[in-house]
Amino acid sequence: MGASSRYKFKLTTLVLTAFLWELASFAAGAKYFPHLWMVIPDLFLVSIKFTFWQNLGVTLWLSILALFFGTICATIFGVAIALKKSGESATKGFVNFLRSMPSLVLLPLLIASIGSSAQTAVLLGTFVVTFQLIIYVIRGVRQTEPRLIDAVKIISMPAYSRILFLYLPSTISITGTGIRLSASRAFGTIIAAGILAGTPGLGSSLLLAESSANYPRVFSYVIVMGITGSLIYNIFGKIEKKFVHWRVSI
């Protein structure tokens, strides 16, 4: 397809988006679904404010922390579980239970016990990432090349270097996909904690705009979250491709 027709499609997308947006706005009433000409100037107003960038930074930082701690927890528990065959069957039900549970229901418990601070959000995010990722780590360790396992047994490699130089590197291809998906989950969880519990970041800004019935602002924040979310998804996708280039990701 030529470059000019690609631009034509992009232009169609833009025009269509604007048309659908305005249609929704007329259908729902401009008060609750503001027109584009109300949202775009507001988006600009928001973007020149220092507090907005601060909130965005806080959200991203908390997401990164949650992803970091979650990855560490998942790796430690995942490797420990996967190395013992009995470990996996014993913990399977437990891990699946925590994975299937909508993690945000823990939020009221966390708020009641430790308050609604940045730590609450990070703790919840860490929990989400850990149980999302642990399955990938277990699967990765399980798929270690059997001949390599035999080889390290023959040279009687000590346990810690076996983990460090054999099992962890062979999980990376699978864990990479898990980390990419977890990054989006961590971001979503930090935002959700802000919306539900007022923990610092973009989520609580959205909550504030909503409760003061400032709907153009609500839509501005939602657009910002969409942009940030897709950036995170794409960036982690690129990182994964670069580091795990030999494996086609799912």
Partner: protein, 255 residues
């Protein structure tokens, strides 16, 4: 039979041990937020009665199932439509990808702003959250039908619609089911969030209410019920998946 019992015991010892340790450690504890399992059990008996099931539980299940079904139906039909037309994909995929990138919980306040806080709002919020993952997995699967199948359809003289219904969709069953499975978790999440954000009805509202009135053991009951709900739906899905599309799921490592 004894092998089955052994397997069950082998799987159950770890969770059971956790519960026993939890009970032993927190039996004498005065920490109000982490009650021992015995206390949660006695609250369970108080909480779950006919009234509660009729109001909170039934309401949650109703919104969850109707929202999920509407979202899936829309997702599959739109995904199938987009899957067979590259031009439509070029136009609509950027919009769909963008909306999908917005965290599902952040869409709930927008839906609430538009529709208030009734049952219809909760159902719509769940449908919207379910719609996009289902749409994308359907689209991807329908667009990637094996070319030999399509050649066969062409030889049979099928038109586009017939090809979609008789060839592309059946071949995509596995991936569509996987998308439906992934959407269950999102649906439960959005259900809880929309109930927590001021509806006053449902399991999510029950949890928030218990927290606000310091009935911490009741709150734990709500949390555990949602966990049980999640894992039940998960297991049900796994069972149906390998029954309906064994060629797709049996080759995958089940997690």
């Amino acid at each position: 039979m004894s092998r089955f019992v052994k397997q069950v015991l082998w799987r159950a010892w770890f969770p059971l041990a956790l519960v026993v340790i939890w009970q032993l450690v927190l039996r004498q504890s005065t920490n109000p937020f982490f009650p021992p399992p015995s206390k949660i059990l006695s609250s369970t008996r108080d909480v779950i009665n006919v009234d509660w099931i009729k109001t909170s539980f039934a309401s949650s299940m109703l919104t969850l199932s109707s929202g999920y079904l509407i979202g899936c139906a829309l997702g599959i039909s739109l995904g199938a439509m987009l899957g067979i037309s590259e031009k439509l994909q070029l136009i609509f995929l950027p919009i769909i990808n963008f909306i999908r990138s917005i965290p599902s919980v952040a869409k709930v306040p927008v839906v609430m702003a538009l529709m208030g806080i009734g049952t219809a709002t909760r159902i719509s919020a769940i449908s919207i959250a379910v719609l996009f993952p289902v749409l994308l997995s359907t689209l991807r699967a329908v667009a990637a039908t094996e070319s030999t199948y399509l050649d066969a359809a062409r030889i049979m003289g099928y038109g586009r619609i017939r090809e979609l219904i008789l060839v592309r969709l059946p071949a995509a069953t596995g991936e569509i089911l996987a998308g439906l499975h992934a959407a269950v978790q999102v649906a439960i999440l959005v259900m809880v969030v929309s109930e927590m954000l001021g509806s006053g009805i449902g399991i999510g509202a029950f949890i928030i209410h218990s927290q606000a009135t310091f009935m911490i053991a009741d709150m734990w009951v709500g949390i555990l019920i949602l966990g049980v709900l999640g894992i039940t739906l998960n297991v049900l899905f796994q069972m149906t998946e390998s029954r309906i599309a064994p060629w797709y799921f049996d080759s995958k490592i089940q997690s």
